[in-house]
Symmetry: C2
Subunit: 310 residues, 2 copies
């Protein structure tokens, strides 16, 4: 993002394409969409961004890419695409029970992309940054030979205690999920979801889940990953799954992009959790959908979910 500040003014007909602008001018336009942040000591313009690191605890690092025709289509509103690009890695920070700090944005645009669409993406990134107090400290733009490619690198922190992970589930632990599942893509929820940052932090601080992750590929792919990493099996109560209205159990298992939290908890907290949750997050469903079991009790398969829960 060299040269920010170089371009004072230029006429931009609404039909302008990304390839019509010098790189420095494009960057200057895009940066205008991003909010300021007190933790950024030096933003774009030098060889690196300079920020204040967490003084205590641990730092979280995450990178997540959004590809046109895989994670979104050109017909989707640009601002929603930008929102999603930042909300996805924020959901990973939520799964660790952490708080987000700073982001770097890498955007590769095809030269024929309307400048207005690129700006719209940054407007959505800016909105998500403001909403969740993320400082966008820098990044770069490049020309893409294919579709739009967005990559967000994100730092976060956990100031005290240990981060949640996928590896600590024990046989006997309850298996829980926030919100509802299924139909995210069809309904457009995948473009406007709110990452469960407050919920993840609250869970880690108050109930210390033995394992936690966010549901991005779908329960049918993600749950076996959590179980495998923890070295345990699981029993899923299909009929307990909290479905979005109009979604089937099959969709809840395989659609993906739910961005809900999946976690495991010692059975000793099973009575306490729902009441405390109800007070903290009265509008967010919380459901026990199964229980972890001995490793080997359920045979795992990477090819499909039906093999081990049907």
């Amino acid at each position: 993002v060299a040269g920010f500040g170089a371009v004072k003014k230029m006429s931009r007909p609404s039909s302008a394409r990304v390839g019509d602008l010098p790189e420095d001018a494009l960057v200057a336009l895009l940066l205008r969409e991003l909010p300021a942040h007190a933790g950024i000591v030096q933003g774009p313009g030098d060889d690196c961004a300079v920020v204040l690191p967490p003084r205590r605890g641990r730092q979280l690092l995450k990178t997540d890419a959004l590809l046109e025709d895989v994670h979104f289509l050109r017909k989707h509103a640009a601002a929603a695409v930008g929102w999603k690009a930042l909300a996805r890695p924020l959901s990973d920070i939520a799964a660790m029970g952490g708080e987000p700090d700073f982001a770097l944005i890498t955007a590769a645009f095809p030269p024929d992309l309307p400048v207005a669409y690129a700006r719209g993406i940054y407007r959505g990134l800016g909105k998500a940054a403001r909403t969740f107090s993320v400082g966008i400290a820098g990044g770069e733009t490049a020309r893409s030979p294919g579709g739009i490619f967005l990559s967000v690198a994100l730092t976060g922190r956990i100031e005290a205690g240990v981060p949640s992970g996928r590896g600590g589930a024990q046989a006997g632990d309850g298996l829980w999920v926030t919100g509802r599942l299924g139909g995210s893509y069809r309904s457009g929820r995948h473009l406007r979801f709110r990452p469960r940052l407050a919920e993840g932090r609250w869970l880690r601080q108050n109930f210390a889940p033995t394992a936690m992750m966010d549901l991005s590929d779908g329960l049918g792919s993600d749950l076996p990953r959590l179980a495998r990493r923890s070295g345990v099996g699981f029993l899923l109560e299909e009929r307990a799954l909290p479905l979005h209205p109009g979604s089937t159990i099959q969709e809840a298992l395989t659609d993906g992009e739910d961005y809900e939290l999946l976690f495991t908890l010692s059975p000793r907290w099973e009575n306490e959790l729902p009441a405390a949750w109800q007070v903290a997050f009265p509008e967010v469903p919380l459901t026990r959908i199964g229980r972890m079991s001995q490793h080997g009790k359920i045979s795992l398969s990477v090819t499909g979910f039906q093999h081990f829960c049907g």
Copy 2:
């Protein structure tokens, strides 16, 4: 990088393509090429990587993308491509006078790419990580519809003092450059250069350059950026330029990819610097190539270097 650890063993004929492998299997293969690092609390396998942040000073953040057919060709050795992908952002850390900490790697591969080439890239990344004590804490892989796309997000630190930047050059400061310039791409140096990390740190700590940057686009593009950001002009002594054997002044100005440090220094240190440098880095040339001047004394142009130094 979900599912690392899932794949124990599988036959891999040398003709295997990236698209033949399940994502988890590919990731497991690639991760084998990367070294361990004591600062990584939790590496790949959870929703985020967990690392120890700098306890003092400032954190540096950088992201840098390497695109096939722009920054390298498929005929280039894969390990050299991986080396370059990490060495480039390391050169930016060097320009701030900082030390690198952790990297996240985003790699988008075309499905028909030989697995051996992808592994070679990670072998090169691993070699650079070992050489410069960088912990590769995570990342992700994706399928590219075009060529190979690599993006490296990097954290670094400056434990005491202020980072160098591009904005502090004063009229009257000397203009200096490390190493030699020109012919980097033709000679293949762009694939095997060593980022000037030790030199950048030493300069910041011992001489506090008023401005510093690394030369990636070429002196003819980069010097005007430094001058503009500092609000000063410059006088370049073309004949003082330290040329690589066989390179012309024109090539030194426009070839780019030199990855040398360009910095400005108060004239009061001009006599002291060369002698101290000679002791610290006896094998690295250091040359004063000009002097910064009043803003406006030289007219700047974004279209070419010849306009203001010829």
